[in-house]
Amino acid sequence: MSAESQDVTQSKSELILKPFFSKATEILFYTGNTLALFKVLKKTNSTITDEVIEYMSMILQAIRTNMDMKQHQEDSYVKLISVQDDEHSTASNGATPGVSIDNEQLTREDMKFSVKIFLRSLEPEILTHTINAVLNELKENYVESVMISLPNYGAQLTLTEFIPLWRIIEDFIDKQKILSAGVCDFMLPLLSDLCDSAKHKPYANQINLGVCCSIPEELNKYVKENNIQLLTHSDPIDVINESEFQQTIREYCHEYDSLNWKPCSVVRYSSVIANRGIIKSKGFLIYAKRELRMVQ
């Protein structure tokens, strides 16, 4: 290919002539703390899917604007981090901008990190990779709570299918990288089967808000007897699918950059000042893989 002369202020409608990451078979998007981007004019009740696509778009837009073609050319594992993360460290003693109250130095003990992992695959190494990515990008030695949400294959999930994943979680708990872990949308008998087989029982089961006022009596009884918290969420089971993921990349990058990606896991994390109920940070990680059939 001949050398291109790129216009630095290329608008969205102009064509991208070369792919940014043609050799990538794994990609990780990490948004950093999105709380600093709180947009009050926009309706704040957008779904998690809208949020994820929005943040991916922001990151891709920045790449497009920078037009640094060399950066990811040779990478097989591409890590895309939100620009503002450079200015605001996600270390636990970061101050929040715009606060007129006194800025006290917070220690790690004051914070509580909660992580929800939406898995789109039951492959154990995806889960392992995802948890490690979270710990690495957040620069934390441990997180207090991990909730794991599983793909909906239509049929009921069996314990046999799930237990390898729970063993991975238990391993992280043994290494004190995760302090407590829970599950999402489990009904009986799966929940009781898990508790019977588990070394570390789930501390919570997160159920959909839509049913929080009409919980089955049996389930209610079981959780109360076994000291499991019933928490709530308003998330879909599937946060972002193949076509949404690929389409988002397609809007900002070359066609080859978007081909064949399968999102494997989406993570939403948040940190709260433990005694105050005040959220300090919130962000997302999106991890996807693809097989490369075309070489540029």
Partner: protein
Amino acid sequence: MGLLTLGRPLNWEETKNYASLIREHGIEQFIHIHNKLKDRRNDCLKWGDEVEFLMVHFDHENKRVQLALRSHEILSTLMEPQDQNPADCVTLWHPEYADYMIEATPGQPYGHLPVHFNMVEANMRLRRQQGQQLLGKDEYVLSTSNFPRNGCPDFTWPTHKPTPTTSASASIFFPDEVIFPNHPRFQTLTRNIRLRRQSKVAIHLPIFIDKNTPRPFIEDLSIYDHDGNSNESTAIEDHIYLDAMGLGMGCCCLQVTFQAQSIDEARFLYDQLTPLTPVMLALSASSPIWRGYLADIDCRWNALCAMVDDRTPEERGLEPLKHERFRLPKSRYSSVDCYISPDSAIYNDTEIVQDADAFHKLTEHGIDHILAQHIAHLFVRDSVALFEEQLHLDDTKDTDHFENINSTNWQSMRFKPPPSNSDIGWRVEFRPTELQMTDFENAALVTFIVLLTRAIMTYNLNLLIPISNVDENMQSAQHRDAVLHQRFHFRKCLSTMKTPDTPCMTSVQKSAFQENECEHRLMTINEIINGSNEFVGLLKIIQDYLSNIEVDADTRCTINQYLSLISRRAAGTLMTNAAWMRYFVTNHPAYKHDSVVNDEITYDLLWKMKKISIDEEECPKVLPRMSSKTTLDISAAVEKENNELEVKRSLMTQHNHHE
């Protein structure tokens, strides 16, 4: 109500002579406590509600309902547990102005756990039951802001006749016997306020003009005056006349108190909550009936301001200033006059009357101008209740003189320094909310306000508008059906300017805020709460906050129902208490469309409210059908989780030390 010191109350002449002493020492005490405790850090943002109940007696044979003067008989029983073991109570009781009122708070303040929101209503219900247990046959605890026939002939049980020539209030409607007798504070305040003012307190509330209301409507007040001395009582065309502290302080309200982590946080909260005072007043409106007449206003606020107004004619601007130090535009019961955080200075756009000596003393001792201004403003008021035994205090240890003035400035917000000899932190009281007829509604209002403060602090929002606009809003909020018809100044863009420059944010900020554009505009309550194409809506901000914290299913269910109530009331699909009471009256067979709410109508109204409050009857125009999942039991699981985390943290610390 405030400070209950013991001892002999001074009469007015004696009290007047001590005005300067109290002022000087009060300022000394504030300086002392401020400088000693300005760096105090509390580890948790705590909060609690305060509910004032009425007690009524139903006479089924004669179809009338009267206020039951039982407080002096039952309060000591209610207070036994806290007298013996204050650290271990589920509820705490306090006396209030009238002998038909009892006031209580939860025994321990609520904290940071989401599950605390699920306890509020259950604790309120428990307090109602505890009071109810001690009452006799046909006597009931009720929660509403204003007893509709307060001040009407024989409005209490037992009955008493007003004695205007000798009573503390000189009222032709409100006998002294209705004032709580077991503490001299309330009578003392009543008498001293009137003596200082040099006349009875007075207000004229606009009457609601109905089809058959006499035009003009003028009360013949001579029928109330048994002692033939009515020259001080004046009726005004188309208005309802009130003339006693008890007709204002005898109203009930719903308060929320926050204990901040630091003084700066307390000042921040005070400011951010101030623009919300008119919004909550409008949403909670429950006082449309006064002295047996339908009024054209729905709230108690202005009536209360007037019923404790101790300003002399000079201070009120009726005569030129000769003996008094200041012209005072407002009563000592009023909406706040200034914000108190340094960043808020630009929003203090009204002139604030201050005691100059106090201001200088405060600033000389290191207190910043904004806080000094606030305190110096409070201290333009004289003491109106002093006790002999408490006159001479150690300013380095006691705060009674400061509290004397601070607690008799009754404003829509109150900033409270820590009491001496305690580890309680800097606190803020949110005071405008009217009392609703059910625990569910009261809990909903409290939950809404607390969640909103969490969201404001999480997202670093700014709700401030010029204080003059807040004052305008407070007047708008009291209009009949303000929730449906009035518009309120509200800030357009709640995010602060210090957000990072990303492509996305820049475009949003630009369109939101051009250079000379006004930061606020008029919005309906519906738009403020539920949002619109142009405004995010307070509920959406709260929902966003909730989606980011771990909340158990029962608490989430409860909160959802509370927020649904607020949403629907703001949208007008559910009625305020005031609107419903009007509806009840105007559809009552005995109502003659002449604005008169007689004994029979009041009896039926309050009987129905009693049944609604204990779930014997539904009220779908005001309340949704479901009931919440409120409970006093904190789930064992939550406690367990917290314990586990503590254990693991200590393991981690050990681990880290070994590395």
